[in-house]
């Protein structure tokens, strides 16, 4: 693990450029890259992530997807520091089981989102370095996306991109799904097939321009029938 990087671009290799004598402290965080995206439709939700796990200039794995299935109607995408992602998903799994055993029902997407918010905030003074996005179906069967910041602030959205390429993808989603910054355009509701195609195109663009995104794309489509997973290859360079 490298020295702590204070508010610089995540993952940027400051150590390889001489900046003068610097006191190196142990940093408990590392940045493992990756991009996650979620889109909510009328009766479906899509959570997609790339599968590259990197650190600095190296790639640790080309097959490390960042979507984690929580229940039959909810998928969590988390990117950032892989160690914290793993621990966080373990804790959420344990809490889901506890809820199921005490209340005899599965947690709904909204409840999982609220719970994740308190889990993240309880670590306010030593945060989980994870950018989370939950995608799933709400109680009425409509698609729901909840996006989080590392300390637990969350909000329900229609679409959200998180992770290393988020700043590149979010404006594209704003334009294509939110129809923002365009004049005289008909607001057509998003169908499932169009949404899947859009997600594939968007990740192909991200892999072109972001070094931490690539290798393969894992798409999870959540409908009332269940969760359907698809793997699409991306650029490996």
């Amino acid at each position: 693990m490298l020295s702590s990087q204070h508010f610089g671009d995540p993952g940027k290799m400051k150590d390889y450029h001489y900046t003068g004598p610097v006191e190196h402290k142990f940093s408990p965080y590392a940045y493992n890259g990756g991009t996650v995206l979620a889109v909510a439709g009328e009766d479906f939700a899509i959570v997609a992530s790339d599968t590259r796990l990197s650190e600095g200039y190296s790639i640790h794995s080309r097959d490390s997807p960042k979507c984690y299935k929580l229940t039959d109607t909810t998928v969590l995408g988390c990117s950032g520091f892989h160690g914290d992602c793993l621990t966080l998903t373990k804790i959420i799994d344990a809490r889901l089981k506890m809820y199921k055993h005490s209340n005899n029902k599965t947690m709904t997407s909204g409840a999982i989102a609220a719970m994740l918010s308190t889990i993240l905030y309880s670590r306010r003074f030593f945060p989980y370095y994870v950018y989370n996005i939950i995608g799933g179906l709400d109680e009425e069967g409509k698609g729901a996306v909840y996006s989080f910041d590392p300390v637990g602030s969350y909000q329900r959205d229609t679409y959200k991109a998180g992770g290393s390429a988020s700043a590149m993808l979010q404006p594209l989603l704003d334009n294509q799904i939110g129809f923002k910054n365009m004049e005289s355009v008909e607001h057509v509701p998003l169908t499932k097939d169009k949404a899947v195609q859009l997600v594939k195109d968007v990740f192909i663009s991200a892999a072109e321009r972001d070094v931490y995104t690539g290798d393969a794309l894992r798409i999870c489509v959540i409908t009332k029938e269940g969760i359907n997973e698809e793997n699409i290859p991306l650029r490996k360079d």
């Binding site: 408990p28 670590r123 003074f125 996006s147 602030s153």
Partner: protein
């Protein structure tokens, strides 16, 4: 959260002693028996009144702490922060003022994390109960969670005592709940806008400030908002004038402040409760304003 406490449902407490850290002697901060894996196995009774467990990392004191001059008392919490490699959501314009028709609370809707707009449509004004709303500013996650805690505590008080807590008492409760975190990096600046026997406007901050007043504006865009408010604000404003004044103040602040923007939320609180105005996109307002100025310039030239 609230129902569990009212029913006094206590889970069996489990002893957690996963480390013993006595090498620092008296300087060591007593490590609270905290729930590291967030399994919520302990109740909130022994947590100095704060109904949420926080994991405080047991960091050794850094060398800079030893070199600091001993004359200034520094609370040990300052050395116990882990360097974060990411920015948190910050930056805002919120305002509230009192007039003859009640209280107006207005805020922008942008959450910025460093230079990126993390979310263009955040709710910075949250209703606590039918006659109280709170505008939040500072770190987004802090405000969201503390509002949630405040709603819970107010509801619990109401259930336990049969009447609703006054707004001044709510502010005092909030201030005392935030007090254990004074000196840490937590940043919460809330304005309680409500009605109990008259309009009330109280500003509570995680630094410890608790101030009652007639007009408050908080956030990076507040200087611009104050400039617009101070010009027109009077007790005798009508409801329409007050709303358009609040809108104008937020609009001018979002225009000049980079960290505020997108839409404006507006709440109006009277003796009958709060009512929310439809969220308005300020982009349209900018173009309308430009057109108006263009027309005025043309009229002048004629």
């Amino acid at each position: 959260m609230a129902l569990e406490d009212v029913c006094s449902f206590k889970e069996r407490p489990v002893q957690h002693k996963w480390f013993s850290f006595s090498s620092l002697g008296d300087a060591a901060i007593p490590f609270p028996k905290s729930d590291y894996y967030n399994l919520r196995l302990e109740t909130s009774e022994n947590n100095c009144g704060v109904p949420l467990h926080f994991f405080i990392p047991p960091l050794p004191h850094s060398s800079s702490f030893i070199n600091r001059p001993l004359s200034s008392f520094c609370p040990p919490k300052n050395s116990m922060t882990v360097q974060r490699p990411f920015r948190l959501a910050h930056g805002t314009t919120t305002l509230g003022f009192i007039f003859q028709g009640g209280v107006i609370a207005a805020a922008d809707t942008r959450a910025s994390a460093g230079g990126l707009v993390a979310c263009p449509a955040v709710h910075k004004i949250t209703p606590i109960h039918s006659h109280l709303v709170v505008t939040s500013s500072g770190s987004g996650a802090d405000c969201m969670l503390w509002e949630r805690i405040l709603i819970r505590e107010i509801r619990l008080y109401q259930l336990r005592h049969g009447h609703r807590l006054s707004i001044r008492a709510t502010a005092k409760l909030l201030s005392s709940m935030l007090h254990p975190f004074k000196g840490t990096e937590m940043c919460v600046a809330l304005t309680l806008c409500g009605w109990d026997n008259g309009p009330k406007l109280i500003y509570v901050c995680s630094d410890g400030a608790r101030l009652q007043g007639d007009v408050f504006s908080v956030g990076s865009g507040s200087p611009y908002a104050y400039g617009v408010l101070d010009r027109e604000l009077r007790w005798s404003l009508s409801k329409g004038e007050a709303i358009s004044l609040a809108r104008e103040a937020v609009f001018r602040a979002t225009h000049r402040d980079a960290y505020s923007g997108n839409n404006v939320d507006l709440f109006h609180i009277t003796a009958q409760g709060w009512s929310q105005r439809k969220r308005e996109d300020l982009k349209e307002e900018y173009y309308r304003d430009k057109e108006k100025k263009g027309k005025k310039k043309n009229d002048k030239l004629k």
